[in-house]
């Protein structure tokens, strides 16, 4: 091409070997953003989509109108869940590295996103998570051993060996089944919320997608339907700065915050410090109240940072500075809550260490138990002919025929 290209190419501020640079990230001081009533008109609270709701200040104090005033015990519970998420991820990552599960995805650095929301919602509220919201399952009562068995595809696997690790589901916990296809859960949440409204119930729905996933059609469908029918739903965008190797600017985040994506449809947006458990909790409560009172959907952008690799298949050193997380202005959510509790006199380093030990032991025990239900290489194995179950409620004869054919092959010694 002779002439110079005029295409704008979004570029992250730093690539491997370069100095991390978060100067683009607009922050508000903790406590600085007003808290409107849940009945406020969208156009009167537009500032919430560009400001950032923060509660924990640099001195680890909870300040400002969004402070949910959670009692210390509840905060300790939150810390425990976040730590459990982290310890669990750590262990599972390691287990994958040892080749004992095929794949894993961690939420490192984003633990407040799921824990804050899970604690703010009611059990009857339905969650439609992405793959990085494992803490939702934990808080909603799914046992660690069951999550591990899912990752192992063993005899106790809730997915009966059908799904990639981390694709959990929990009907009892009101947490939906994870899809491999990004953002598809978003319109499900809206439809679920519409059904709740149609039935005159006051359960709401909540869903989560990543910054990168906002580009998918389902994001648009969900926002449109939510706006049109004023569905009681919370639409969360977890802006962890990266979508595998592309930064949030590749998804359109260069000029305006993701929180603003619904404004054109009249959906209020709240930009929140996603690493501030108290702030996440507070905005979720606000949005849930609003939804429950008939105020319709809220879009929440949780500003955070993907502390680890995208998945066990990924190597982020190829596309971002190694120490970028350390430079992230919003820090580490676990550390911040811990310091807050310490600052308030409700926690100590020693207690913390003890808790970590306790959780490690818990996770290890669960892992030991999980293995007794089978591993990838050692039995007991789940009966492979169960792969023909649940394709349909009423299975067609041809599937039964295939099941028989497979049994025949297995009987003849299986193998390849």
């Amino acid at each position: 091409m002779s002439k110079q290209s005029r295409l704008h190419i979004p570029r992250p501020t730093a690539r491997p070997g370069e100095e991390p640079d978060f100067s683009f990230l607009e922050l508000s001081a903790a406590g600085a953003v007003d808290k409107p009533s849940v009945g406020a008109r969208t156009r009167d609270i537009e500032n919430l989509s560009s400001d950032m709701v923060r509660v924990l200040d640099d001195d680890h104090r909870a300040v400002g109108p969004w402070n949910p005033d959670l009692d210390p015990q509840k905060l300790q519970v939150a810390l425990r869940w976040m730590l459990l998420n982290r310890v669990f991820d750590e262990r599972m990552w390691q287990i994958q590295r040892q080749g004992r599960i095929s794949f894993y995805m961690q939420a490192l650095g984003e633990e407040a996103v799921s824990v804050g929301a899970a604690m703010a919602l009611r059990h009857g509220d339905m969650c439609f998570p992405s793959y990085r919201n494992q803490a939702l399952y934990m808080v909603r009562g799914v046992k660690l051993v069951d999550m591990m068995c899912q990752c192992l595809s063993n005899t106790r696997d809730m997915c009966k060996g059908r799904q990639l690790p981390v694709m959990y589901h929990s009907r009892a916990g009101n947490v939906f089944s994870i899809s491999g296809n990004l953002a598809t859960q978003y319109p499900h949440a809206v439809g679920w919320a519409m059904a709740s409204a149609i039935k005159g119930e006051d359960h709401i729905a909540a869903s989560w997608v990543g910054d990168g996933s906002t580009a998918e059609a389902d994001f648009h469908h969900a926002l449109t339907f939510a706006a049109v029918y004023q569905a009681p739903v919370i639409l969360n965008v977890v802006n962890n700065q990266w979508a595998i190797s592309t930064f949030q600017g590749t998804a359109g985040g260069e000029r305006r915050a993701f929180a603003a994506r619904g404004l054109g449809l009249g959906i209020p947006g709240i930009r929140v410090d996603g690493n501030d458990l108290l702030a996440v909790y507070a905005v979720t409560v606000w949005a849930a109240d609003r939804a429950r009172r008939g105020g319709g959907p809220t879009l929440i952008e949780l500003v955070t940072y993907r502390g680890g690799a995208h998945s066990t298949s990924d190597d982020p050193s190829k596309y971002r500075p190694k120490d970028e997380w350390k430079a992230f202005p919003l820090g580490d959510p676990v550390e911040r809550l811990k310091q807050h509790l310490i600052a308030e006199g409700h926690w100590t380093e020693a207690k913390h260490e003890k808790l970590v030990e306790e959780l490690r032991a818990l996770v290890l025990a669960a892992w030991k138990e999980a293995q007794t239900y089978g591993t990838m290489t050692e039995g007991p194995f789940i009966d492979p002919t169960t792969m023909f179950d649940d394709v349909y409620a009423e299975p067609p004869e041809r599937l039964e025929g295939q099941r028989r054919r497979m049994l025949e092959i297995e009987r003849n010694g299986g193998g390849h």
Binding site: R171, N181, T184
Partner: protein, 339 residues
């Protein structure tokens, strides 16, 4: 029993089910106040209210995605896609979600959505109002695919589809909404009133999904078809004077293999006909099944008559449409083939 055309039968199916089951909701483009561009939902909003018969934004992916969520929350949604040609924007939600949800969650979650959509040509609709994409859906495990050929079946199958806990893509051959059509556009239009399958019970009944119907018995050749072409096949068989057995599949997935293969074993010859393009179409699967299950009974190659492998052209729809003459030629060819 009442006289119904296919539109009335489809409407009646929804009416009956909505009346019995408050969890049934209808959503789609123009389905509410207006009653649908083909009038299939006419009067339902007046009867069941705006909260159960819902005008949706123009987003097929959104309609299906939202319907899935509704289904997960205990409703039984019937989504209308205005034309089958416009179902593709919803394809990911159908394949990756609707068809897979029960499987991936081991039955903990499922969504009993029925997707109704008018298909087929013959109404001068050009390439984007004439397509028959059923062959794309039959390949997708986890959904059922149905296409009725008359008012009675339309009502019975639609009720069965709505009541099924499995998702169903329900194709409505729009050319025969108002009357059976034998493939000759120059003949005066015929109404369903003169057809036995235009007699439809007012109340609740079902036609089971997965069961074909032999609409004409015969011994010389089996014609396997569905939708509009059922009527064309009958006319073509008469034109040829062939003693043809004609099978209306009604359900494409699951397909009634037994009825097909028993018939072909009896007749020894088989013609498959559909309006969709031929290459990679559903007829291929039918041929593959029959050649295998009836190999030792077949006296001639299985014939296929289908839409040409082009988009559906506006001006040449009658040259495109596999009409009586093409089917008749197909029948003759199969009959004349040496055994």
């Amino acid at each position: 029993m009442a006289q119904m055309n296919m539109i009335e039968a489809i409407r009646s199916a929804m009416d009956v089910v909505m009346d019995r089951d408050p969890s049934v909701v209808v959503l789609g483009e123009d389905v509410g106040y207006f009653g649908g561009v083909f009038r299939c939902t006419d009067g339902l909003q007046r009867k069941y209210g705006e909260h159960r018969v819902i005008d949706a934004p123009i987003a097929e992916g959104g309609i299906i995605g939202a319907a899935i969520g509704m289904g997960v929350n205990g409703l039984r949604p019937v989504a209308e896609i205005q034309f089958a040609d416009y179902i593709y924007p919803g394809f990911d939600q159908i394949v990756s979600e609707l068809a897979r949800l029960r499987y991936r969650s081991c039955g903990e979650f499922f969504s009993p959505v029925t997707i109704r959509t008018p298909c087929g040509g013959g109404i001068r609709g050009g390439q984007t109002h004439s397509q028959s994409p059923e062959g794309i859906f039959t390949h997708v495990s986890g959904i059922k695919t149905v296409m009725p050929s008359n008012p009675y079946d339309a009502k019975g199958l639609l009720i069965a589809a709505i009541e099924s806990d499995d998702p169903v893509v329900f194709f409505e051959p729009k050319r025969i909404y108002n009357g059976p059509f034998d493939g000759d556009p120059e003949k005066p239009a015929v109404s369903w009133a003169s057809h036995p399958k235009g007699e439809v019970p007012e109340g609740h009944f079902t036609v089971p999904i997965g069961v074909a119907e032999t609409v004409r018995e015969g011994s010389e050749i089996t014609i396997i078809t569905y939708g509009t072409l059922v009527h064309v096949a009958v006319a073509a068989a008469e034109a040829v004077g062939a003693d043809a057995e004609i099978i209306d599949l009604r359900s494409l997935s699951p397909v009634d293999t037994a009825t097909m293969t028993e018939s072909v074993k009896k007749t020894g010859r088989c013609l498959i006909a559909h309006e969709a393009t031929r290459f990679g179409g559903f007829g291929a699967e039918l041929a593959a099944i029959i050649q295998k299950d009836c190999f030792y009974h077949l006296e001639a190659p299985i014939g296929r008559v289908a839409g040409w492998d082009t988009p559906y052209p506006h001006a040449f729809e009658w040259q495109y449409f596999p009409g009586k003459k093409r089917l008749a030629a197909g029948i003759r060819k199969v009959l004349e083939a040496a055994a």
